[in-house]
Every structure is written in structure tokens, then in C-alpha cells.
């Protein structure tokens, strides 16, 4: 028995040692501390609960930075929670319900599922707690529960990517004699953000190409293909847009899907519509080495969101550019809106901008703060 | 006795390395109790497993109710009316008696199970058997004897025409056996054919009409019970193998040193204040009834189970044994009564099992010298006359006797001077039994000290130099072989009861 106890202690010490040794640094504890410090609710200020899509991604950490900045500025306290993964829908609903039970002055929510949170929003309404959505809207929310939504117009963001890509490849398409191919890798076909972005890109690209008198066919994942109006015929089209969706949301499978498209002789450009799929494109390129600045030299790559890897790729020209949303702004706006509600002011929806960035404008003041690592 | 209901003719069955059944015949008539006899490993159970479809026969014919049949599983056999009452009870302890009897064919009311009807039907069965068991009782709360009755009730409820009893009396008390016999006679009156497998000669004389004897997987002959004597049957069972005479005197050399001394050993309820001495070159028999605490004593001494208190001296030195590792270090080896569970690693080869306890001797640092391992294994296969195609053969394919020899080889490899044999010949056929006995005597003559736990009185009287008798976890006596008789051992073995 003694031995067993000893073993437990040993195991415990090791874990503790690890934490102390490696985790004792700066940023590691900061993010968890803020949640406990927030729950105190000091200084007569308001207390808000923030529920994000996932606590474990760089993107959301950037949004939380915005939330904290606003909280400091306005003298309110916030408590931030979120599930492990954007697919943990039930976990998030649970967290939202817990947040409501805390009876805060307001809740900022980035919902993983527009349907699953409806019931919780109703109880927030019943409890008289105002809710502000950010990143993602909840279109079917009970009347009066959601005061405002701070979100990127994802269709517009996709269109921004298409417009900027077309600037690079437009001439090549106009002069092409053989059919050419443009690839798009989307993380999934279920979330509104990703599919809005994906369709925004497809529709804009199709519009631009057709304006130049060429025909377009969209092929690949059925979900996306079905939403295309007046889809052309694959056999006769001048430009083929191929849409791929990996079996699971991993860089590896995104890279496999990207490799498949990038291996085709007629491919001139590829778009990864979020951080994981954009990194997939870059991972595939490690072996293929086909990404280039113009269609004459290789394949033109465009990414989405930021993170160290994508930023580096844009900076060194591997990707001609990428689109970033404004997670910091959104977090900030959400808290400001909640504050205004509590102060009795009117609030309204804000569609935050999506910015195109490339090697040249990365350092500019409007762009740089939104390029998180 | 009525007409023939079941005939098995020329049944042949081989397993890898073993010819289990060699053209065996058996005939059962309506209204008879037919004994199937033979030593352990003679092939009785295998024959019944072939009949009820658990094993597929290699050749031969089975004729049942005038038609040639082959059952593919026990379910088919049951449906046709051939049912086996197993030695190990296949009972689901948490369910009620009635639920057990009708498992797999529950009465339904809509989609609901009709427990009420099952209880009524079970009651009717018990009435027919003239026994009193509450169908609603939880199975695990019944005595072993009562559980056996339930098994029989289950068999009858299948509208059985042939019932096979596989050593039904093994775990029963005298009174329960009487009750069992009453039921069997009843069933015989009703015209069922009954196959009765048992070792107990006196039972055979009391209950059966005919006896079929098997030996080494072959058919020896069939006798009418009332026309034959006990010796006739034994002769058929044993064949030419003659038991060695019982020992009449202690063979341990005079003044032989004490190699193991155990003082006031306590371990749980089953080992209370046990003390004894073991001399070099001695075979010390441990006798007693089932559950007397002999195996528990051995396991505590070997470090397999924790001991509460007590002192152990090896060669005069006081030692602490907390695990089998410690015991092995002091040269103690343990051959378990349940070889398959505790003795061998069945899916590994003869060679790997042989070196299991002493890999260090075959290793250069962490690496195993497979050539040397093979040589040693082959040496012991030769010296113990283990029957195996090669030392690479998986142990699972060997017969019980040869598995036992592999376990012995394992401890000999380790140079153990103190060997504990727990039921050394359980599940081993007669010929091999004799070999194991010879081997044990030889080992003792070479100066090994042996503790032999055995439930067979003949084995105890034949092998031991001295005998320790246990009952209910306590040592109740110690005898020199010269003064030991069946009667005084039995006396000591039951001393604590009542």
C-alpha cells in the first residue's frame, strides 16, 4: 500500500514540476488568471460573461485580447470561457447556460451552432440578460434576446480574397487557350462562416471571370457545388473551380486535399479559406514547391486568417496575400456594445471589415494589430 | 432397458499434437443409466463435446432416434433433445432460478418478458422432480447442490431424451447425491437415456446399468454393471499400467538437514498458525479436504498472496518473502494446481515457458541468447521425456501431463531446491501420472525437498515420506508415512468440522 501512495505522490510531483518548470512563464498563466480575477466584479462596474467558440486557438486568443482591452478601458470585469474545440457544441451550450446562471450584466457570445443556443438565448431573455453576438450571428434568435451582432461579413471576406487573387491571375485567364483550374480548400461544409466565405469566393470569382467573357464550372464537394447558380459544364468550361473538404479538420488532411489539386497540371491558383486549410496549402507546398507570385511561374496561393506560419508565408511571398478578419475589433466592439446597453444607449449591428494583406501592407496600422501570431 | 436411442460409432478426433479420440463407440438405450468411465484425459468429455456439437468430429457416425445426425452447436443438440449437464455450472448468479432455466427462450407477453409464467413453469418442473426450490430465488444464494438441480431442471425443460451428466457429484454432499440419484432414477423410469460420467466407483455400482470404459482416447469395452466387479472396471480403465505400491517407510536419509522451516504462518482466514519443517530429500504430503487451506498456505509461503504474520527459514536463515520474485531468489518453486491459469503461458512455446523463471541465465545483459535457450529446453524435453514435436511447439497444444513437465522444467532450470507441487497429477492421464511420480521420487533422491499438496488419498499414501494434514485453515496433524492410514488421515482432516 505504501508503495502505491508513493507512486501517486511521485506522479503528482512530476506533473507539478512540469507545470512549474515550463508553464511558469508569462502568457501561460495570464489567460487563465483573467477569468478568476474577473469573477469578483469590483468597483461598481459591470460584469460580463464572454463565451467564445474555442479557448484553444490563436484566433480566439486575439479576440480575447480585444475583449480585455475594452474591459480595462471601460472599467468592467469579464470572465471568458469556451470549449476545447469549435465542434464541441454541447460543451459550449453548457458553458453558456452556466454563464446565464451567474446572472451577469451581459453576455457576449460567439456561437458554434446557431441552432443549439436558441433555448439558452430564450432563458437569457427571460432572465433579462442582454446578449451581444460576435464573430457569428444567430439569425433565428428569440426576438429581443440578441441586442446586436458584431461579425465579419463572410461572403464579403471571401469576395475580397477572390478580387485580389483575380488581380494576379486575371490576365493569364483572359489569354489562356487551354482550360485552367482554381482550387479552394474549405475546412467543412457545415458552419455558416466557412461556407459563407467559400461561397463568397466562388461567386465573386465566377462573376469576375464571366465578366471577361469566359465560362466557369464549379466541381468537387457537393454541398458547395449545389449552391452555385448557373453552373457551367466541366467538359467545356474555360475555368474550373475545384472545391475540396478534408475528412477531418487536421492540417495533414487539408494538405492532402491541397496536394491533390496542386498536383494537377492545369491548376493556376489555390485558396485556403481558414487558418488550418491555409496551413494545409503551405504544408503541401513543402514537398511540391509550386507556389509562386504569378500563374506563369506556378500556382498562386491565397490564405485566410493569420498566425505565425501564414504571416511568414505572406511576408516572404509564398502566398501572394491573405484575408484577415478583425478578431481584436470584434471582441472590443462586443464589450463596448454591452456597456452601452447597460448605460441605456442604443446599439446596432456592426459588420466588421475583412482586410486584404500582403507583403507590402502588413506593417500598416490598420492591418498589423489584427495579424495575431 | 428399452430400444437404442443413440449410437456413436467410430468417432475420431484429433487436435494439434494429440489424437484425442481414436474410433470410439458408444450406445445408449432408452431407460438406462449408462456410465462413461476412464481416467482423466481418457477422452470422455471430448466424446460428449463431439456429440453435442461443441467439437466437429473428424470421422465416424452418430445415429439418434434411427437417423444419422450431426449437431453443429449445443443449441441444435438441445432442440433435438440431447442435453448436457455440465460439471462447471453455467449459471448467471444474479438472475433468478426461473430466469436461468428459461434463458434464451423466455416467455413473452407482447414485448415484455413474462416472469410470472416462467416462475409457474419452473415450479411445475420442480414438482415433477419432487424437489423444493423457489423459482424466484436468486441463483447465487442456492447451494451448489440446489444449483445442480436447477441445471437438471433446465435440461428436462428442453424436452430432453438423452441427458448427459458430467461428473455431477463432484461438488455435492452425501445427502445431495442421494437426492440426485432419486431424480436420475425418476428420469430413467420416464424412459430417458442417461449418460453418467464419474470417477467414483461406488456410485457407478449404485446407479448405472451399463459401463463403457475409455482409455487414452480409445474404446476399451462395455460391461453390464451388475454382472461385473469393481476390479473388472478398474482393470479396463488402467490397462497394463500398474500403480506402484504405497510407500511403507520414510525414505528421507537419516539426519537430513532442514531446508525450510515455517513458523506460525498466518494469511487470511484460510491459513491460521501453520508451522512445519521440510527436510532435504523429503516429500512432505499435504492432505485435507477441499478448502482446508493447503493451497493458500503454499501461495502465502511463495509470496503469491500476502502473509499476515509468521517466520520462514530457508537453510536456517530467516528470510522475508513478499513476492514470488523473493521466493524464487531463495530457491522455492511453485507448480500450481491450475496450470492453465497460473503455471504456463499457453500461447508461448515450450522453450519460452522453460526459461520463464530464469531468463537471466540466458541473457547477455538485456539480450536473450535464443540458441542457449533452445539447448536447455531440449535438454529437459529429453530428460523429462516430454512429448512435443519440438521446443518451438506452443504449450497449448500439449497434453496435461506434458504441460506439467514443462512447468517442472521451468523450476529445474532455475535450480530450485524446494519445489511445491500443488495437485501435481490433476488433469493428467494414468500413464503420465506414473511418470510424474517417478520424476518426483527421482528429484527427491537428488536432494530436492518437495511439498506435495494432493486431494487424492492414494497419491498421498504412495508418495509422501511424512504427511501434514490440514482442516479449515489449521494444521490438525502430522504423521510419518509408517503410521499413516487412510482412516487416521481422514480423521484429522475432518477434526475441525462440527
Amino acid at each position: 500500500m505504501k508503495k502505491k501512495v508513493l507512486a501517486v505522490l511521485l506522479g503528482g510531483c512530476m506533473v507539478a514540476g512540469l507545470l512549474a518548470g515550463c508553464g511558469g512563464g508569462s502568457s501561460s498563466t495570464a489567460s487563465t488568471d483573467s477569468s478568476s480575477e474577473g469573477s469578483e466584479g469590483g468597483g461598481g462596474g459591470y460584469h460580463f460573461e464572454v463565451v467564445v467558440k474555442s479557448f484553444q486557438s490563436t484566433y480566439w486568443q486575439a479576440a480575447i485580447t480585444g475583449v480585455k482591452a475594452a474591459a480595462d478601458e471601460l472599467g468592467v470585469t469579464v470572465n471568458t470561457t469556451g470549449p476545447n474545440n469549435e465542434s464541441d457544441i454541447a460543451d459550449q451550450v453548457n458553458m453558456l447556460n452556466n454563464a446565464i446562471n451567474q446572472n451577469p450584466d451581459g453576455i457576449a457570445l460567439a456561437a458554434n451552432s446557431q441552432d443549439a443556443v436558441l433555448e439558452s438565448l430564450q432563458s437569457a431573455l427571460d432572465a433579462g440578460i442582454p446578449v451581444v453576438c460576435f464573430d457569428t450571428g444567430v439569425p433565428d434568435a428569440p426576438e429581443g434576446s440578441v441586442y446586436a451582432t458584431m461579425a465579419t461579413d463572410n461572403e464579403a471576406a471571401g469576395a475580397v480574397a477572390a478580387e485580389n487573387m483575380y488581380e494576379v491571375i486575371g490576365d493569364y485567364i483572359k489569354n489562356a487557350t487551354e482550360p485552367v483550374r482554381i482550387g479552394e480548400v474549405n475546412q467543412d461544409a457545415t458552419s455558416a462562416n466557412i461556407s459563407g466565405r467559400g461561397m463568397g469566393f466562388i461567386n465573386k470569382m465566377k462573376e469576375l471571370i464571366e465578366a471577361d467573357g469566359k465560362t466557369v464550372a464549379v466541381i468537387g464537394n457537393q454541398y458547395y457545388v449545389d449552391q452555385v447558380e448557373n453552373n457551367g459544364d466541366e467538359g467545356s468550361a474555360d475555368v474550373i473551380i475545384e472545391v475540396a473538404v478534408p475528412a477531418q479538420t487536421t492540417v495533414e488532411l487539408s494538405a492532402t486535399e491541397a496536394s491533390n489539386i496542386m498536383n494537377k497540371e492545369d491548376t493556376i491558383a489555390i485558396f485556403g479559406s481558414n487558418q488550418v486549410t491555409a496551413e494545409g496549402v503551405l504544408t503541401a507546398n513543402q514537398n511540391l514547391s509550386v507556389l509562386a507570385a504569378t500563374p506563369d511561374e506556378g500556382i498562386v496561393g491565397v490564405g485566410f486568417d493569420a498566425g505565425a506560419t501564414i504571416k511568414a508565408a505572406v511576408a516572404d511571398g509564398t502566398l501572394v496575400g491573405a484575408v484577415t478578419q478583425a478578431p481584436v475589433d470584434q471582441g472590443k466592439l462586443a464589450i463596448e456594445a454591452l456597456y452601452d446597453i447597460c448605460e441605456g444607449n442604443e446599439v446596432s449591428d456592426v459588420a466588421t471589415d475583412a482586410y486584404w494583406y500582403d507583403a507590402e501592407n502588413m506593417e500598416e496600422d490598420t492591418i498589423a494589430p489584427n495579424l495575431y501570431d | 432397458m428399452g430400444e437404442v436411442i443413440l449410437t456413436m460409432k467410430g468417432i475420431d478426433k484429433s487436435f494439434p499434437g494429440v489424437h484425442a479420440l481414436d474410433h470410439v463407440d458408444l450406445e445408449v438405450r432408452k431407460g438406462e443409466v449408462h456410465a462413461l468411465m476412464g481416467e482423466n484425459g481418457a477422452g470422455k468429455s471430448t466424446l460428449m463435446k463431439v456429440l453435442t456439437g461443441i467439437y466437429k468430429k473428424d470421422s465416424g457416425t452418430i445415429t439418434y432416434e434411427g437417423k444419422e445426425v450431426e449437431f453443429h452447436n449445443t443449441r441444435e443438440a438441445q432442440d433435438a433433445g440431447v442435453v448436457i449437464v455440465h460439471q462447471e455450472l453455467n449459471m448467471l448468479g444474479h438472475l433468478t432460478v426461473a430466469q436461468n432455466i428459461f434463458i434464451g427462450r423466455e416467455f413473452k407477453k407482447g414485448i415484455r418478458i413474462d416472469d410470472k409464467k416462467m416462475n409457474e413453469e419452473a415450479k411445475k418442473l420442480f414438482d415433477r422432480m419432487h424437489i423444493d426450490i423457489d423459482p424466484k430465488e436468486t441463483m447465487s444464494r442456492l447451494t451448489v447442490g440446489k444449483q445442480q438441480m436447477c441445471e437438471i431442471a433446465k435440461a428436462i425443460s428442453h424436452k430432453a431424451k438423452v441427458i448427459i451428466f458430467d461428473e455431477p457429484s463432484a461438488a455435492l454432499t452425501e445427502a445431495e447425491i442421494e437426492e440426485l440419484f432419486k431424480i436420475i432414477r425418476d428420469l430413467r423410469e420416464q424412459g430417458l437415456g442417461i449418460v453418467y460420467i464419474s470417477h467414483r466407483m461406488d456410485e457407478i455400482k449404485v446407479i448405472t446399468d451399463r459401463v463403457t470404459v475409455m482409455r487414452y482416447g480409445t474404446y476399451v469395452g462395455t460391461l453390464i454393471t451388475k454382472d461385473s466387479t469393481k476390479d473388472d472396471i478398474i482393470n479396463m480403465m488402467v490397462g497394463r499400467v500398474i500403480y506402484e505400491d504405497p510407500k511403507t517407510q520414510n525414505m528421507t536419509p537419516k539426519g537430513s538437514p532442514v531446508v525450510l522451516k515455517v513458523e506460525h504462518l498466518n494469511a487470511g482466514k484460510m491459513v491460521q498458525d501453520v508451522s512445519f519443517e521440510l527436510h532435504k530429500g523429503e516429500i512432505l504430503g499435504f492432505s485435507g479436504l477441499m478448502g482446508a487451506g493447503r493451497t493458500e498456505t503454499a501461495r502465502a509461503l511463495f509470496g503469491a498472496d500476502p502473509m499476515d504474520s509468521g517466520d520462514i527459514y530457508v537453510n536456517g536463515q530467516k528470510v522475508t518473502i513478499k513476492s514470488p520474485q523473493d521466493a524464487v531468489k531463495y530457491g522455492i518453486g511453485y507448480l500450481s494446481e491450475d496450470r492453465k491459469r497460473y503455471g504456463i503461458v499457453v500461447q508461448k512455446s515450450v522453450a519460452e515457458n522453460t526459461t520463464m523463471a530464469d531468463l537471466d541465465a540466458f541473457a547477455n545483459g538485456p539480450f536473450i541468447d535464443k540458441k542457449k535457450e533452445k539447448e536447455i529446453a531440449e535438454k529437459y524435453v529429453e530428460s523429462l521425456a516430454t512429448k512435443t514435436p519440438s521446443v518451438d511447439q506452443l504449450v497449448v497444444n500439449l497434453s496435461g501431463g506434458n504441460q506439467q513437465k514443462v512447468v517442472i522444467a521451468k523450476w529445474l532450470t532455475r535450480n530450485c531446491d524446494i519445489l511445491i507441487f500443488d495437485e501435481p497429477t490433476r488433469g493428467i492421464d494414468v500413464g503420465a501420472k506414473n511418470e510424474i511420480y517417478k520424476l518426483m521420487n527421482q528429484l527427491a533422491a537428488e536432494g530436492k525437498a518437495i511439498i506435495m499438496i494432493s486431494s487424492e488419498m492414494t497419491e498421498i499414501l504412495r508418495m509422501s515420506d511424512r504427511i501434514v494434514v490440514m482442516c479449515e485453515g489449521k494444521k490438525t496433524g502430522e504423521l510419518d508415512i509408517s503410521e499413516a492410514t487412510q482412516e487416521n488421515i481422514m480423521n484429522m482432516a475432518t477434526r475441525e468440522i462440527n
Binding site: G11, G23, S27, Q61, S259, N260, V276 | A327
Partner: protein, 336 residues
């Protein structure tokens, strides 16, 4: 011993051709070859050298995890913490390199060391405290998942790229020669397979791992220190998960916290396809290695022949069922 020689020949004759070629391993290797030919025939994109390099790239971390997890599987246990563990160890090691300017070598050592530590923890829980392996490693799975994220504060960790200072470790698995990528990582994996096969078949560690899986109690009663060797099986697994973490960090640009769940299924699936029995005691490293390639080929090949996400998962599931069935049927045959 006349009957010894007689039956010797009989003993070898009744083994089938497949058994003599190595049993299920042989079938699996045939499957790998067949799949490769099939995908090559169906997709011109698949036939390229770069695709082969990609398949190898993505196989390293799965292969390393699979070699490791084979040991707990052989003791009739399992280690479910390897997937999230891999990410956790890589995050911590990478965090020290990226944010604390540790030399890459030190970061790599720490990564592997934490793997070993969690191997010890798993081993102690299972072998000393008798927790069911499934439960114990499920718990450490959750712990590693949370721990990694806490240390990095939710941010992804980009290990140094090949061109950055400290990026030399990426060349362990892939070097550039005349503009071509040479997947030398494959060599290391093959070398490790050979070493671990030797460990499994020719050392005490391997012998006792198999013996514990076959019959733990009989092994204990033979005087073997089963606790030590049982723990050791998990330590080997932890060590290889640490190596897998390095391979993963070297191949992929960023390590994301919160990911990793599900990796273990690829590794365990590969081992089982390769003939490792879930009930312990039976299996080989070479089989596991071949099994991993079935998984990797399916993962890479199915998208290339135009199958969409859902079909890929269905087919992978069917292949797993088929290989487990082969194992069960084989065992039944032996049992009779």
C-alpha cells in the same frame, strides 16, 4: 526419442503458405502493395514522387506512435493518451524554443522527456494501482490536452522553420538535394522498426511484455518482476510518443493546442491491422509498421481518387473491421 523426430515433420506440414510467410503481416503487406497500385492506376496525381514524399511525411508520427502503443497493446492494455500527448509534448518543447529561446536540441530533449514521464505515470496507474488501462489513459489523455493548452496559453506554436536558426531538426526527416526532397525520415523509422523488433523478440523486456499479455498471473508466479515490466511497456510508449511529437513538429508548420484527439486511433488502428491482438500477447513491430501504411495510404489515397470526406471514413472503418475479423478467425482456428 523416436516419436519426437516423427512428429516434428508433422508439426511443420500443416502450416499454410500464408502462415509460413509471417501470417497476417504477409497479408497486410500485400494489401499495402495492392492499395498503392490501385491508387496509382486511378489517379495520375498520385503517381508523382512528391505524393510519395507526402505520404511518408505524414506517416512518421503515426508510425512512431504505433510502434510505441504496440507495447501496451501487447500487455493487453492500451494507451489512449498518445494523440493528445503528442501535441502536449510538442507544445511544451516548442514553447521553450520559441518563447524562451531555448536551443532546439534542449527543446527536443524536453519533449521526449515529458513523453517518458507521462509513460511512467500511465504505467504506474495501470500496473501498480491496477486501474484499467482504458480508464487510466483516458484520464491522462484529458490531462495532456489541458496541460499543453495551459502552458502555451491557447496560442499555436510554430517550431522554427527549416530556414530559421534552430530549424535544423526539420532536416532529420527530409533533406533537399538538387532541389529534390529526400525523405530520409523513412530510414530512421525502418531502423527503429528493426531495433524494436529486436527488443520485442530477443530481449527480456520484449519477452516479458508478451508474457504479461498472455498470462500475467503465470508470469508473476514464475518470479518475474511483472510490475516493473508492465510499467516499462508504457514508458516505451511514452518515449515513442515523444519521438512522434518531434516528427510532427518537423513536418507541420504549426502545432495547434486542442488538436491531437483522434491521432491515437490511427496508431492503434494501424497496430491492429498489423496483427496486434487487442487481448494481448500476440503481435509484431513489423506487422504494426505495415498496418500503419494501410492507414496512411487510405488517408492520402482516397482523396486522390475523388472520394469525399464521408466515404473516406466509411472505407477506413470497413478496412479496420476486416482486419480485426481476420485476427479473430485466426484465433478461432487455433482454438479448435
Amino acid at each position: 526419442m523416436a516419436n519426437k523426430t516423427v512428429s516434428k515433420t508433422a508439426g511443420t506440414n500443416n502450416r499454410s503458405f500464408i502462415d509460413r510467410m509471417g501470417g497476417q503481416k504477409f497479408i497486410v503487406i500485400l494489401i499495402v502493395i495492392a492499395l498503392f497500385i490501385l491508387f496509382c492506376a486511378m489517379s495520375p496525381q498520385f503517381r508523382k514522387y512528391t505524393t510519395v514524399v507526402s505520404i511518408l511525411d505524414y506517416s512518421y508520427y503515426i508510425a512512431l506512435m504505433a510502434i510505441g502503443v504496440t507495447f501496451p497493446l501487447l500487455t493487453a492494455g492500451v494507451d489512449l493518451s498518445i494523440g493528445t500527448g503528442l501535441i502536449c509534448y510538442s507544445l511544451i518543447g516548442g514553447y521553450l524554443i520559441v518563447h524562451h529561446d531555448w536551443p532546439t536540441g534542449a527543446g527536443i530533449l524536453v519533449t521526449i522527456l515529458i513523453g517518458v514521464v507521462f509513460g511512467v505515470i500511465n504505467g504506474c496507474l495501470v500496473a501498480l494501482m491496477d486501474l484499467p488501462a482504458f480508464l487510466a489513459t483516458l484520464c491522462t489523455c484529458m490531462i495532456t490536452r489541458g496541460l499543453g493548452s495551459i502552458v502555451v496559453g491557447g496560442y499555436g506554436i510554430p517550431w522554427p522553420t527549416a530556414t530559421q536558426p534552430g530549424g535544423w531538426f526539420r532536416n532529420i526527416f527530409k533533406i533537399q538535394m538538387d532541389g529534390m526532397n529526400i525523405p530520409i525520415g523513412f530510414l530512421w523509422i525502418v531502423l527503429l522498426v528493426i531495433i524494436m523488433s529486436f527488443v520485442l523478440n530477443h530481449t527480456k523486456v520484449g519477452r516479458y511484455t508478451l508474457a504479461i499479455g498472455s498470462n500475467k498471473e503465470a508470469t508473476r508466479l514464475s518470479g518475474v518482476n511483472v510490475k516493473f515490466y508492465h510499467v516499462f511497456a508504457y514508458v516505451i510508449c511514452g518515449f515513442f510518443t515523444g519521438l512522434a511529437a518531434i516528427a510532427y513538429s518537423a513536418i507541420f508548420p504549426t502545432v495547434q493546442p486542442g488538436s491531437g484527439a483522434g491521432f491515437e486511433l490511427d496508431a492503434i488502428g494501424g497496430a491492429i491491422i498489423g496483427g496486434v491482438s487487442m487481448t494481448g500477447g500476440v503481435g509484431s513491430i513489423t506487422g504494426t509498421f505495415a498496418g500503419v501504411f494501410v492507414i496512411c495510404l487510405l488517408k492520402t489515397g482516397l482523396p486522390f481518387i475523388g472520394l469525399t470526406a464521408n466515404w473516406q471514413q466509411i472505407i477506413t472503418g470497413l478496412v479496420l473491421i476486416a482486419s480485426v475479423l481476420i485476427d479473430i478467425l485466426n484465433r478461432k482456428k487455433e482454438g479448435k
